[in-house]
């Protein structure tokens, strides 16, 4: 926020290009970062943000272009070389070793040791100090990272970055897995760091965050820099959106169609659903044409509730009925058979077949439709998938592409496409816009609304309160495994929801 004195910028990247087979991810990108600033990198899904920062952390090598560090050209040939200069990265996909403890992960590769022997106690002590500094003293350094929530894992990644002598910290969509409280905490840490002169490169699709924390902005579009060093204060949001998308879209929610949605029998009816230690006594109705949102803090148990409804977890009590038919407990196949679909929270591990082509990912739940006597007509599989990808604007095009090579947001669209194809009666969406850019968000919102309008019962889980309220017809607030509020979305506002999830002592 304060202008820095003049010396050469900490980092300059000039004319960086990077081509993957068939895709030019970067076609000449410039970036200039000064010490002590929060430099935001903006761009649509697939614009090349993650690729750029992977070059910066030497995870990839650029095809062309040069990198200047304090004015001197440098070659960042290995991750270690980047780390030595003080570049630390928190990747979009968390890069922790799940089987190691928090401490072990923090010091991985630069363990505290004497003569090859690890100094467990000293390392624990330092880990605890780092976690404290990050405002998360409650994380047990001895805990295995695989047992932590994504949010806590994010904190561990931060602690790891800070365990180095960091001069440039790169955060690739750190807030995607955080709730508002935790985002606030993250910002506090970021401000502490910039005050010490550390430079931050910050990537996020949430423009309001950028307004709050950013100093300057670089905008990428289709692998080239289209906006350079824009001052946050001086650049209005519509300008940013226009730079990113070439269009002007507002962060708007489609209008509720308002018609008699709650009439007749609900399509999805949940009664007394319980899962010991996680949630209990959950009642839930979703009518055809209605969007019901589940709001709550990360860890409140919303994902578990919807996964149990879907049969991915076995309930200890309660019933789930779809169109009046009771579903067998703990059977996803039964739920899918009855017309229920789920876009899971973790698209990479739960949603996608990463090494298979897009069309196979899309048709996997509807194979019967393309099969005659068990034999698949893969031509029509491809055609239908092409249509869906086109309608969702998946980029780059081509349904033979391997899912792994798509950017995060585009991967999310593929999972959505799977259930669009299936034509569900009930669609459950867990964090449907995580990592999705502004343009695509609006598309996804209207798509969800369109589905509801066509009679589908939609259940949405989101950690963005604004999104739950804007998208849903009715909202349920969940706290510690119990529904603490239920009512029309119009009748409740953001601060009220926050009150409920934090304190939760009203009906």
């Amino acid at each position: 926020m304060t202008e820095q004195p003049r010396p050469a910028p900490l980092l300059e990247m000039r004319g960086i290009t990077k081509t993957f087979p068939g895709v030019r991810a970067l076609g000449g990108v410039d970036l200039e970062v000064r010490a002590g600033e929060v430099h935001c990198l903006l761009g649509q899904n697939g614009a090349g943000k993650s690729t750029l920062i992977k070059i910066l952390s030497a995870s990839y090598q650029p095809d062309e272009g040069e990198i200047l560090w304090e004015g001197e050209p440098v070659a960042l040939s290995t991750p270690v070389a980047a780390m030595r200069r003080g570049i630390s990265t928190i990747y979009q996909e968390l890069d922790l070793v799940a089987g190691l403890t928090v401490t072990e992960n923090i010091f991985l590769g630069h363990e505290l040791s004497v003569g090859g022997f690890t100094r467990a106690i000293a390392a624990d002590r330092r880990a605890r100090a780092l976690l404290e500094r990050l405002g998360h003293a409650e994380i047990d350094p001895q805990c295995q990272v695989g047992e932590l929530s994504p949010a806590a894992q994010q904190v561990v990644s931060m602690a790891r970055a800070l365990s180095h002598d960091t001069r440039l910290l790169i955060l690739d969509e750190p807030s995607a897995v955080l709730d508002q409280e935790e985002v606030r905490n993250l910002f506090r840490v970021v401000r502490d760091l910039t005050a010490e002169g550390v430079a931050i490169v910050y990537i996020s699709h949430r423009l309001e965050e950028i307004r709050e924390i950013g100093d300057r902005i670089t905008v990428l579009k289709d692998g080239v820099t289209v906006g350079r060093n824009l001052a946050v204060d001086a650049t209005p949001t519509p300008d940013l959106i226009r730079l990113m998308t070439g269009r002007s879209i507002e962060y708007v929610f489609p209008a509720r169609s308002g018609a008699a949605r709650r009439e007749g029998e609900p399509v999805l009816q949940v009664r007394g659903l319980a899962c010991p230690g996680i949630f209990s006594g959950v009642d839930l109705d979703v009518h055809g044409g209605e969007i019901v949102g589940l709001a709550g803090l990360v860890g409140a148990g919303r994902s578990e509730i919807v996964e149990t409804v879907y049969g991915a977890r076995r309930a200890s009590a309660g019933t789930v009925t779809v169109d009046g038919r009771r579903l067998r407990r703990g059977s996803v196949a039964a739920a899918v058979g009855a017309g229920v679909g789920l876009c899971p929270e973790e698209r990479k591990s739960q949603g996608l077949l990463l090494d298979q082509s897009l069309y196979r990912n899309i048709t996997i739940s509807s194979l019967a439709r393309f099969a005659r006597g068990g034999f698949l007509d893969s031509g029509s599989e491809r055609r239908r998938s092409e249509e869906l990808c086109a309608s969702l604007d998946v980029r780059p095009t081509g349904v033979e592409r391997v899912a792994r090579t798509l950017s995060g947001g585009n991967q999310q669209k593929i999972v959505l496409a799977r259930w669009l194809l299936r034509e569900c009666r009930v669609l459950i969406l867990d964090e449907p816009t995580r990592g999705v850019d502004v343009g695509a968000r609006a598309e996804i919102y209207s798509l969800i609304r369109g589905l509801a309008d066509s009679g589908v019962a939609v259940l949405v889980v989101s950690s963005e309160v604004e999104e739950v309220l804007g998208l849903s017809d009715r909202v349920l607030v969940v706290r510690e495994g119990t529904v603490v509020h239920e009512g029309p979305a119009e009748d409740i506002d953001e601060s009220r929801v926050l009150d409920l999830v934090m304190e939760g002592n009203v009906a």
């Binding site: 899918v336 058979g337 739940s365 033979e400």
Partner: protein, 359 residues
């Protein structure tokens, strides 16, 4: 597909937090691929690049055969000999391809084959087959194989025993049982119709070779053209995602092990007809041979990608190899050393070629 199709691209070294174990096992495990280099998964995708190395390796072997043994190698009878030798292990390997593609492994194939061979040639079965029809022998072998596969599958899918361990246990048990049933004696087949049927030729092609071709063709169709095959790839590629997509992963897993069990049953029938015996020593170490053929063929050891054509090529490479050695009167020891070298060279060659075909 245009030629710069990303399908044949390298995997993203930058996003490997999410690398499926599958990919890791081939590319990264025990040493990550260099940045910017391809992982196994996509690299070998196109039919051409995928099998080129294998075809080349086989061609080199044949060239070596012709050079060193001339007409004795390039002779119809000799080719049929190679194919007959390939047939039994080939059928087992086709089954193994499914299990491995589906994310499992089966160490018990050789022992199951032995058990099938023995059970179907006990005197009681043979007496039955004599009275009724020799098909009783075939039916018994296949049923025993399917039963063993079912036990494996249930232990793995529902008992959650790691496939390696469950099938290792089956290996010990099935071979022990085969010894008990046969009293460790070679069971000689007395039913002449059985021997006549499987010993016959059709248009100069031995029935055994035809059987192998049929099994391989069916396997290819099943893996590439049916919902079953598609689900196998999904279950092997990401079982959790497959489950959440509505696939009955456990049931499917059981079916895969039953399938390989059935293949062992068929292979047992073939071996019984070939040797005219059932024996508890049949099929020793087939597990390693089959897995080697499958993996050399290009199926990912960790699941999610499988190729029947590759498996067949892999089997042919190994059988041709031992044929060429024998034609040249080479010692078994030298054979082993060269076999090891050829395995490595074939794999390295295949990788380099596949990489080149990408760029």
């Amino acid at each position: 597909m245009s030629h710069q199709e990303p399908v044949s691209t390298t995997a993203a070294p930058g996003t490997p937090g999410a690398l499926p174990p599958g990919d890791r096992a081939e590319g990264t495990r025990g040493g990550p691929r260099a940045p910017g280099r391809g992982g196994g998964a996509q690299r070998l995708r196109t039919g051409m690049g995928r099998n080129l190395g294998l075809v080349l390796a086989l061609a080199l072997l044949c060239a070596a055969g012709v050079l060193t043994a001339g007409d004795r190698f390039a002779d119809v009878d000799n080719v049929l000999t190679i194919l007959r030798l390939a047939a039994v292990i080939g059928v087992v390997s086709v089954g193994m391809t499914f299990v491995i593609t589906g994310g499992g492994i089966d160490l018990s194939v050789g022992a199951i084959l032995a058990l099938c061979s023995v059970w179907s040639t006990t005197l009681a079965t043979q007496a039955l087959a004599n009275d009724v029809h020799w098909i009783v022998i075939v039916f018994t072998a296949v049923a025993v194989g399917a039963g063993c596969g079912l036990v494996n599958g249930v232990l793995i899918a529902y008992g959650k025993v790691v496939p390696f361990i469950a099938t290792l246990a089956m290996l010990a048990s099935a071979r022990g049982l085969a010894e008990i049933i046969s009293n460790r004696r070679t069971q000689i087949v007395q039913v002449p119709e059985f021997r006549d049927f499987f010993g016959a030729d059709v248009l100069g092609v031995p029935v055994l070779v035809l059987l192998f071709l049929v099994v391989a063709a069916l396997g290819w169709v099943l893996l590439n053209k049916t919902t079953f095959g598609r689900r196998t790839l999904a279950v092997g590629g990401n079982p959790e995602a497959a489950r959440l997509a509505g696939i009955r992963v456990q049931r499917h897993t059981v079916m895969l092990y039953v399938l390989v069990g059935v293949c062992c049953g068929i292979a047992a029938v073939m071996l019984v007809s070939r040797t005219t015996t059932g024996s508890s020593t049949h099929g020793t170490l087939y597990e390693l041979d089959a897995i080697a053929a499958v993996v050399i063929g290009g199926t990912l050891l960790s699941g999610g990608r499988g190729t029947i054509v590759g498996t067949v090529l892999g089997v042919l490479i190994f059988t041709t190899l031992s044929n060429v050695f024998t034609l040249n009167n080479l010692s078994i020891s030298a054979q082993s050393v060269v076999k090891g070298l050829i395995i490595v060279v074939a794999v390295l060659l295949q990788q380099r070629l596949a990489e080149r075909s990408r760029t």
